[in-house]
């Protein structure tokens, strides 16, 4: 039994589904944020798997790994800004529960 690309794609898809379920089901804004990170990582896993699968001159396709590098960088910046917003929100409302933060809800 050898490993194929589909194994990695399935794990990546399951990881994305878990993160997606977390965003849909959880009501704590920090947990929702962690689940966003899970989904970004799922995308990274499939990118790296494709990079290893599509060999260029016997080497992995490094364009995909550079894209993963960019995704990780953007995700780190996103975490910093997002957590700053959460802290500002907590100062204003003293809650991290999304159902208590519904001023913009129609």
């Amino acid at each position: 039994m050898t490993l194929t690309l589909n194994h990695y794609l399935f794990v990546s898809g399951l990881l994305f589904a878990i993160g997606f379920a977390g965003v849909m089901l959880r009501r704590n804004i920090i947990i929702i944020f962690m689940c966003l990170e899970l989904m970004l990582n799922a995308a990274n896993l499939s990118l790296v798997a494709f990079s290893r699968f599509n060999l260029v001159n016997g080497l992995p396709n490094y364009n995909a790994q550079v894209l993963v590098f960019f995704i990780i960088t953007v995700a780190a910046a996103e975490v910093a800004v997002g957590l700053a917003i959460i802290v500002a929100l907590f100062r204003a409302r003293q809650t991290t529960h999304v159902e208590d933060i519904n001023s913009l809800k129609f």
Partner: protein, 167 residues
Amino acid sequence: MSPILFYLFAAMTLVFAIAVVANRNPVASALSLVVSFLGLAALFVGLDAYFIAVIQVLVYAGAVMVLFLFIIMLLNIQAEERRKINLPAYVGGGLVTAAFVAQLWFVLQKYDLGKTAFAPLAEKHVDDVKNIGNTLFSTHNLPFQVIGVLILVATIGVVVLSKRELK
């Protein structure tokens, strides 16, 4: 990567990802997320992406998770109390997720190219960092500098957001 190791680390990644969603205590969720990211880094090593694996551990399991734990403890969030479950939201979220997983399964059944095994690399040891560096600084030089500007903007944004009163 041997299949046993693959299944071990894939199971570790997925189980602790589920623990992130299932835990009621945010600190336990954050620590589960660290373990999940470490499993993912091991999967990257299995795909011969050593540089990405190291970056994953340094940036995600290191910096990002310290930031998460710091904020959780700064805000002093306890395990959330049980609230009335919003049943339609739960059923809807579960259904969409199940539909996604089912669709993934059927698409991967039809994807014949993905059923072939990974071809071996030309050399046993790849110069991972050197090759990524070459690609990053030659082909993708402009995006790299744009990312630098993005991080600068994010830093300024965080400082502005963290000030006591926004004017």
